[in-house]
């Protein structure tokens, strides 16, 4: 295999697909840390030039971790529709990009081709797309799902109500949920990250959040983001659960470090279909993020974008209700600054949509990244333009438990009113009935959490 180009008179040659894929990425500190990033800006573009000429079949045949060694690879490869694949396998990555963007390529055409793709093919095309390409193409691929309500319908934008509390205080969490509901946050899920991951603590939070859903007849679902095994135990004990959650990684070894396997998630999915209280049929919630495999030294020498694409291929197996990248959470050694976080957010959303999953985004940053709230507001605007299904809703974007910052309860109504979008339809009707929203705009009653103190 010869992978070579000239650029401005200089020759660039790449020894293998792994390094070609690494060097073709937009700049990421994590790729540098992994030793797979481009050495110079020109080398990066040279890699893109070569990648653009690569047939998709080469990427299918070069998974980041070999089929025999990795169950994530097997999940992805075994799910490919071979008929569709045979129609597109000779396309180059560059041709694939142009096909995705073409006016003659419809949403339905893309969705059909998704069935013939592997994650490495999706990662490949993502690397040669600009930010606006990623926004434009993702917008063409709406992905909807239904649990208690419907997420991802064009014209809607949902918000996860994320009422975390530094000591899991049920009163404190309840107060935050009320604040969020009064702004219209919670149509994706009322999802609590617990400090205490134990069975008793998780049970208590599930029952408390379910109590609010019942009392106020909120068309949504609840979730406590403990380890999946704890949630399974709660579900079997009769706990009211809307969505089953787990963080996923892009290689078997990285999933080992999360304490999960394909078999375990298969089992959780089967239990969810059997015992979760909403109508379904989508019951799973996954979180992801570039760099997780590298931080577990489980990336097999590959770049973080490709590993991320593989998580979506894994997630697709479970027809999830929602998946989001927690894009700036991992820290500056993987995504250094606002520019890298924004780029990764756009990449992840596009890759998820192309893979076939209802994709949202936790647009966020930690305090040691070179980013601030403005950077995250920018990313949220870009992703809303891209048709992102949902964002996080956190009190003023400041998570008092996880010590990071993301989007806020205020951001959901702002983005909806800015782009003419509505909450999930069932949830909008609920807000209208309560008098918190009219014609897609918050009413005078909205933004007051004590509205919910009367029941």
């Amino acid at each position: 295999m010869l992978l070579r180009t000239k650029l401005h008179g200089k020759t660039y040659e790449f020894p293998d697909i792994r390094l070609l894929m690494g060097k073709a990425n937009e700049e990421k500190s994590g790729d540098r840390l992994a030793g797979v990033g481009a050495e110079t800006a020109a080398e990066r573009v040279a890699a893109k030039l070569v990648l653009a000429e690569l047939p998709l079949s080469v990427l299918r045949e070069t998974p980041a971790v070999p089929y025999d060694e990795d169950e994530v690879t097997r999940v992805i490869q075994d799910a490919v529709n071979e008929t569709v694949y045979n129609e597109i396998k000779d396309w180059t990555v560059g041709e694939f990009r142009e096909w995705l963007l073409a006016d003659t390529t419809s949403s339905e055409m893309i969705k059909r081709v998704s069935a013939g793709l592997t994650s490495e093919m999706i990662a490949g095309v993502t690397k040669i797309m600009s930010n606006l390409d990623l926004i434009y193409a993702a917008k063409k691929i709406p992905r909807t799902a239904h649990c208690n309500n419907t997420i991802g319908t064009p014209g809607t934008l949902s918000s996860r109500n994320q009422p975390n509390h530094p000591t899991d205080s049920p009163e404190g969490i309840r107060a935050e949920i009320y604040e969020g509901l009064s702004y219209g946050s919670g149509d994706s899920v009322i999802g609590i990250n617990p400090v205490d991951d134990s069975y008793g603590s998780v049970m208590r939070l599930l029952e408390m959040s379910y109590d609010i859903i019942k009392t106020w007849e909120v068309p949504t679902q609840n979730c406590v983001l403990a380890h999946v095994t704890t949630q399974m135990k709660c579900l079997q004990a009769g706990a009211p659960i809307g969505l089953i959650f787990q963080s996923l990684a892009g290689s078997q070894k990285a999933n080992d470090s999360f304490g999960i396997s394909v078999e375990m998630i298969d089992e959780a999915y089967a239990l969810a279909k059997k015992y979760c209280f909403p109508a379904g049929p989508n019951y799973m919630y996954f979180e992801t993020g570039q760099g997780s495999a590298l931080s577990a030294e489980a990336h097999n020498g590959w770049d973080q974008l490709t590993l991320e694409a593989r998580i979506y291929g894994f997630a697709k197996r479970y027809s999830p209700y929602q998946v989001n990248t927690v894009v700036g959470f991992i820290g500056p050694e993987y995504l250094y600054d606002a520019r890298q976080i924004q780029r990764a957010g756009l990449e992840d959303h596009f890759m998820g949509k192309l893979t076939g999953i209802p994709m949202g985004c936790d647009a966020c940053y930690t305090n040691h990244a070179r980013a601030d709230q403005n950077a995250i507001e920018n990313l949220a605007v870009m992703l809303t333009a891209a048709g992102c299904n949902y964002f996080m809703g956190v009190p003023m974007g400041d998570d008092s438990m996880l010590s990071y910052q993301c989007t806020s309860y205020h951001d959901a109504p702002t983005l909806r009113q800015l782009f003419g979008l509505r909450p999930a339809p069932e949830f909008e009707k609920w807000m209208e009935n309560l008098g918190l929203m009219k014609n897609g705009v918050l009413t005078d009653k909205a933004g007051d959490p004590t509205f919910f103190l009367r029941r």
Binding site: P166, E176, E179, R370, M396, D398, T414, T450
Partner: protein, 312 residues
């Protein structure tokens, strides 16, 4: 005219203006205006000459202002106060249209600013001199930016540091204390004066030999291994600045390991985290606690997961 005279005149003028309704007192939340919807506000007309303009604000980060209810016309003001007091999350903040009110927006930015300043600053040399701490460096050569990008290099002492430490420090001490900047210089500055003497005295009264303490610039926790390899102490205590939380840059951790060596991981270590005054683990108490842990480590000849199992 002296400054206190000027101040008292200004104060009198401001009082008059507040009484006349021309300006609002900055220390009390504004009275609800029944004509205003929840998301709206219309500034009051003011007739204020620029000559008498005085802007002299209280600190918005004090609890009384930070946790003041900010919703216009809440249905239940007492209920709102109770809700706000149930969490440190920023609730009851109200809105301007769908956006934040100005005071909550700027308070958030102020809280972020303090974390950014803490992150990019170096520990005050005077403080290090006060405790006679000499400074060595990790393999980071490119300043704070490289420090943030290359955690792997922050876990290793550079060659000069290895030589200096080997020359200047007593080997084989029962307890070796090391101070590292980590992700917050402010955390070291806020806590070292309290915690350091407690650890030192605690070791003396427990009859533990106290090695030669020093400071590591651009320090990550993993550097414990290098210190163990070079100095062969029983227990290493690393006092290090934590990643700043929003508005909280003074939180420090004490990472500890029994006979650390190359290849050891977090599973081999113990940590006392969230060390800060007013709300965290008090640094004086943390110091005493750290000495207790050191004794336990020596008693069981283990740390981390192994210590947990051994001490069961």
């Amino acid at each position: 005219m002296d400054q206190s005279r000027i101040d008292s005149i200004v104060e009198a003028v401001v009082k008059e203006l507040i009484a006349a309704g021309a300006i609002k007192s900055a220390t009390t939340p504004s009275a609800p205006d029944s004509a205003q919807p929840a998301g709206g506000s219309t500034p009051a007309a003011r007739h204020l000459s620029h000559d008498t303009l005085t802007i002299d604000l209280p600190d918005p980060t004090v609890d009384a202002l930070r946790y003041a209810p900010n919703v216009t016309n809440p249905k239940d003001l007492d209920g709102l106060k109770a809700m706000i007091s149930s969490t440190t999350a920023r609730i009851g903040v109200g809105r301007a249209g769908p956006r934040y009110k100005t005071n909550s927006l700027l308070l958030f930015q102020g809280d972020h600013a303090i974390t950014q300043d803490a992150l990019m600053r170096d520990v005050d040399q005077k403080l290090l001199d006060e405790f006679g701490l000499f400074t060595v460096q990790t393999r980071i050569t490119g300043g704070k930016q490289e420090y943030l990008l290359r955690p792997d290099l922050g876990r290793l002492l550079d060659d000069e540091a290895r030589r200096t430490v080997a020359e200047k420090c007593a080997k084989g001490a029962n307890v070796q204390v090391v101070v590292g900047d980590g992700l917050s210089a402010a955390a070291i500055e806020a806590n070292l004066r309290q915690i350091f003497p407690v650890i030192k005295q605690g070791c003396q009264s427990a009859g533990l030999s106290f090695g030669t303490p020093f400071f590591i610039q651009y320090c990550r926790v993993g550097v414990l291994n290098d210190i163990g390899d070079i100095l062969q102490p029983d227990v290493v205590i690393l006092l290090i600045g934590e990643r700043p939380g929003l508005g909280r840059a003074d939180s420090m951790s004490a990472y500890m390991a029994y006979k650390p060596k190359g290849g050891d991981s977090d599973a081999d270590r113990d940590v006392v985290c969230n060390v800060f005054e007013n709300g965290g683990t008090n640094p004086l108490e943390a110091g005493a606690f750290v000495v207790q842990i050191a004794q336990k480590m020596r008693q069981h000849q283990a740390s981390g997961v192994k210590l947990k199992l051994a001490a069961k």
